[in-house]
Point group: C2
Chain length 242, copies 2
Amino acid sequence: MLPAQPNQSLIEGIRCLQALSLSEKPLRSIEVSRLLKVESTKAHRLLKTLAHLGLVHQGGNRKFQVGPGLPVLVAQSLYSAPLWRSMVDPLQDLQRQIPSCKVEVGMCWEGVVSCFYCSEPGMPASWAMGRVDMQMATRSAIGLALLSCCSQEKVEETFIGRPIPGFSRGLPSLVKELRTIRSQGYALIPDGQSGERFSLAVPQEDKLYALALSGDLSKEDIPELVQLLQHTLELLYSAHNN
Amino acid sequence: MLPAQPNQSLIEGIRCLQALSLSEKPLRSIEVSRLLKVESTKAHRLLKTLAHLGLVHQGGNRKFQVGPGLPVLVAQSLYSAPLWRSMVDPLQDLQRQIPSCKVEVGMCWEGVVSCFYCSEPGMPASWAMGRVDMQMATRSAIGLALLSCCSQEKVEETFIGRPIPGFSRGLPSLVKELRTIRSQGYALIPDGQSGERFSLAVPQEDKLYALALSGDLSKEDIPELVQLLQHTLELLYSAHNN
DNA sequence: ATATTTAAAGCTATAAAAGCAATAAATGCT
DNA sequence: AGCATTTATTGCTTTTATAGCTTTAAATAT
């Protein structure tokens, strides 16, 4: 994955972006430099470069925050390509087959899941695509399904040294859970407080995203639902890879 | 804006991302290198670095496409900060005052607008935030309002050499329109085919985003609506800058 | 108004990309 | 299926861009 000659500057630049996106408020360049433990001139120049590109916005008070470039890049990738739009039809079909469930498609990065498709029962199709919600990966079926596709090292690297939401007993219990998920090919977790609701997610072949169903699922239906999800994923994959 | 020592690698890396986000389908590294007119080893190494970071995804066929990092970064910046969530209340208030109109907040980058808030009449609050839709800036009131805040050079740089959606007579007519918008402080354009519907947008002080109202607007109400939008923008600004 | 902190630029050593050449791996073609 | 062409990937050397120190300027706080 990592090339023989990775571009260090690019890596550091993205770290700046990441820091800004996680921050509660806009940051001064020196604050970023301290957060990332890099020399202040360097952070400053990276941030200014990102600001020039428009990925970062520098407000009147000179503080930096995430800028217009990021949402536009995401929107472009979702809309300008037939790639993603072609996913809507198969997903709406799925929604019709299981009308009482929520249908979601999401990606996982650095322990965080973002769903770009989310249709709740009764929601018009045009509202379902083009969303960006956020959940902690370890509390989401989509996140667990995708994490189960990562190597154990990658998972450890991601979660080491910080509390793992939903796994208060730490990394080993997460790793164990992921092993189970990997072997069965799907993640099933309770959804919300009530014992009736569950979330069921299956990862896509490429491991880029996962598809989830949430609602009143009964244990005996699981194998059938997993099959349905896998079938839908195949449709999605061929829809945007031909 | 541009620092004395901009980081060239970072700029090139982002150009790769941009190329992928605009592409109809996943690209081979050599295709990216040809699109951007850079040496192929360089493009390859940048893409591999981005793939390692997770901003780009390399599928089984080795082709590159936008990866999970981007949507997660956007979602994080929208949700993990009180910054953006604090915008919901003022916007819902606005929606209540003008119940028949659509309310949108969007950013503009490289001639493209992405709205991250979009509430249509009757839409629940929780569905309005966390959207990423896409429109061409020159066809959108939000885009025109934000472009009017850019220098003429910046605008020319963005649109030179390509057709400008909605301005078939070219750059000069866009520049003229932007001058008008800048002087009056708002953009007003017809919305859809019917002559009844309009879109009205006002840029935020920092020029980071603009707020728009779309629907059945009558000419004589414009000044009042502009005031209302400006007032809401002040609330938004203070909501996330204190 | 003054002191302190942060931002930004200049400059040089150095480390990191660029780009060529070589090899390996895919892909396409017959 | 086997050969030819294209693409991906690495190694190596040169060159160039970045790191980071120092200095100056601009904000911000006191």
